[in-house]
Symmetry: D2
Subunit: 304 residues, 4 copies
């Protein structure tokens, strides 16, 4: 496996040139555009890592999977999907205009910023407690108790978070979300700033692929149903408005973050964590697309 991975990384790492690192906050702009690392955990829980697998990066939108999971554990499937939908969309991650229509009663899906903020608003815990519980779940799934968030990134996210503020207050005015908006946003900015590496990501991915079999979720939730739901959400909206094309060309349910991370789940088989901060125009890791795509071909992992 390491051999295959090395070859694929070697063959594709040059493509970092076709993208650029996120620069909407200074901390992200400092990333090394050539970085490229991958970790795969197989059915037998063997861990295969190649490249920059121990470099830290912020989890960003991949945290949306975690908050969705925690909200469902806190409130149940039904209550969560009363304020957020299941559908993919061609709209960008920070879309806001659709929330104006009186016909709209929920955020389109939990992977959009609007949907993720809505989901976060449901998570139990006042003030900082909300985020503490999210961070705790990340540690449990990643099997890494040392995970923390990056204060500098968090501060930058908060300072440039006007668009997310607008989204949150519009949803409040439309009656989609309730409660203290400022503390929900504070948690949202913090959760995006959680620092991880590809091993952490692969562990989270494997926990989903493996139906949370070894994880103590401290909840009576149906683990199989929860993992299936998370996978189907990733399929429809995990890769921003490239999710459909990712399905057609890669065929592995995945979720990406703007710092270059990609979490991929091959149901009942593999958990994959990838890192490569050079992004395409949709905000997905360019190297992630190339490498995971080739891996899918090589190991016949396309689920369709």
């Amino acid at each position: 496996m390491e051999k295959i991975l090395k070859k694929i990384l070697e063959d594709n790492k040059k493509f970092y040139k076709d993208g650029k690192v996120a620069d909407y906050i200074p901390a992200l702009g400092k990333a090394n555009i050539e970085d490229c690392g991958i970790t795969i955990i197989d059915k037998d829980k063997n861990i295969h890592s190649v490249g920059d697998y121990n470099k830290k990066f912020t989890i960003q939108s991949i945290s949306k999977i975690i908050t969705l999971m925690l909200a469902i554990m806190d409130k149940g499937f039904e209550e969560v999907f009363q304020i957020v939908g299941y559908e993919g969309t061609e709209r960008p991650f920070n879309t806001i205009s659709y929330l104006e229509s009186e016909k709209v009663k929920k955020a389109i899906n939990p992977m959009l910023n609007s949907g993720a903020i809505a989901v976060t608003s449901l998570i139990k815990g006042d003030g900082e407690k909300k985020f503490d519980r999210i961070l705790e779940l990340v540690k449990v799934l990643a099997l890494n108790s040392k995970i923390d968030y990056d204060r500098e990134v968090y501060k930058s996210e908060k300072d440039t978070g006007d668009r997310n503020k607008a989204i949150a207050y519009l949803m409040k005015s439309r009656g989609i979300i309730n409660g203290d908006i400022e503390s929900t946003l504070d948690s949202y900015f913090k959760q995006c700033s959680i620092n991880i590496n590809t091993i952490d990501l692969a562990n989270i991915a494997f926990s989903i692929a493996n139906r949370f079999e070894d994880v103590d979720l401290e909840s009576h939730i149906d683990k199989k149903k929860l993992s299936s739901l998370l996978i189907s959400i990733m399929v429809h909206s995990g890769m921003y408005n490239f999710s459909g094309e990712w399905s057609a060309k890669v065929g592995i349910p995945s979720k990406s973050g703007v710092a270059g991370g990609v979490l991929s789940v091959v149901p009942d088989k593999y958990g994959i964590g990838f890192f490569g901060p050079s992004l395409d125009e949709n905000g997905n890791s360019i190297l992630g697309y190339k490498v995971i795509g080739e891996l899918s071909n090589e190991l016949d992992l396309n689920i369709y």
Copy 2:
């Protein structure tokens, strides 16, 4: 004149039944739906008042004329219209979705909430100073130094102001406005809560109709140009998304507020202040439409 006014009021006051008072904040909901008063000031500065002309109500959106005026006096025509446009629109006063498009570089017009918040952001003065200057200008134009704002209405506006907050932060994220959003919003909520009666309104209207001839604006602004601009803005967007129909059917440049006030300007002739809190579906005073419409016919005031 009083006779004509009395007759028109008498004939039309029954139509209050076709509308209802604004109720998005409790303070407005307490208005007496049957109230109806009018004040007209003629070329010779004679004041004619009939009905509930001395009842107090909050100025609400009519303040948008005052803030536009002050912003122009502070920054000049050009700078103001770099962040706000001149065009009418079929969209509602609290429209937000249009601000998402990358092609949009300014608020549509200064009478929408978005445009009025943008305009307020330009007015000189830090913190409470901004509002103090607005209130001062209202006093000067209304020839009434006792005018103040209603604390209860202000508090309600602020508490239910999530939509306006969303609008403001979206404009900030799009680079349309700058500076301290919270203090701009605070001023916006206060200015909507200024307490006036129809005499105050008529005085303000007359000052515009009379090209600010007797007003010391403490500014080198071209008074004729300023009054023409305000009148043309009222024509295109003063009556929400009923402005075109108001032009076609009434033909007098006007601006309404959700508490039931209407300010009407017959250029070089009359200043009119009206009050009737029963609103139609567009948020305009139903009695205002009936009474000012009939007055326009009676005195041949249609400018077209």
Copy 3:
């Protein structure tokens, strides 16, 4: 008057360089970009013409005033404004997307393509009869029985009319218009292709300014009400999505066409016809804006 006009034309004709001629159909692209002519008819019916006043050009969108007028004479104010509204809009002339919303029951205004097509659908007459009646009205208002339409332009309009076809069929599917769409569109393309010069335009404008006093409309319509309505519609939407700015800066109710014509009405005073095919980004004649704007200042014609 001729002296004033000559001076204004002389001072401004250089600005043709800031625009370009319409080129979406070949026939329009052949226009001479430097052409510039004006005709003004005063209260005493004196005709003052300067520059290229006898050059022919197609009436294009200015015909929307004529079709609106004829539809009102055919069906009355009420029936017409059941399928078309009065409001200005920041949307472009060929906007279609707003027609998708179930809340929308009419075209925004009769000066948009959608609104004009809707209005045309109401005009009496089967097949070619519809257009014949429109052409006849143009002749009557322009005092020129020789006016005809340009076959080449008509053919080009028709061949490139897919967007208008889409607009018409969408309105039909939404229940806004009825009847034979193809013949309505055929009339629409023909009426845009009517050939006129500035004298014709000025005569039409004067007939409106003069409340159709000398015109036999073969209808019991209230002529004063009709002229006021047309003027207010021009104010709100005559200059595309520049109508509000035109009001603020020129202050004379006007309607423009993409071949470079402008029809301007100073109520009860002047009828003005202008021609200058160099267009700004909104599709209005650049020289028209300069020349009519300066004329407005010079003769104090701003109605606000």
Copy 4:
């Protein structure tokens, strides 16, 4: 298998009451709302049919899978996806407004009416040839040379097809599609009117599930890649704006039609054809949702 199917049908057939049959054209309104039938073909090509499996109904939107397949065989993956995208959407099947934006260069996906019309425009064949080739492919995949289209339904589709006409002409004006619009639309209306039963549907579904192994496609296309692509498109947009929720709750790639048909593919395992004309608010068969959902649970067919 028949036993399981019978039990599921028995348990669920009462739910027809929660929906209603399509009625936008008279022919569809005549369907028997209680009809319910299913056919499943397993890996060993055994055919299991229960209920109203031999009732004829029109294929409607399920034909979009066939036309996508034929267009790809005619023009290749790349050329097809230059005018149509891969993304799911929360928009309804007949959405048109998104096509106005200048940023939009393609239809969102091939399962929307816009996307399907675009795809049809690419299929080789002039005039009626286009449709003849589509019908031929349906016959081949369904292993049924007697399949034909319903003239009455076709005529109705055509007569009420104004919205689709608008969509087609808007796409033409935007440069997304070319060629003779009327013949493309004619083919589109005909292909929606093809008459089939659940056995035909199951055969088509099985051909996809089985990677077209036994089918002579008369094309050098990569059969595995083609079937994967069709499945991923079904996942993202096969069930209208319920596709994401269908994935989350049923987990079997499917495509529905407004006459009540559902085609479902369990990759490498089963081909399923379902018929039940009682529709939910999204236009999907209510009984299809219930029955296929329970089947998915019962046989553990959820692919996530």
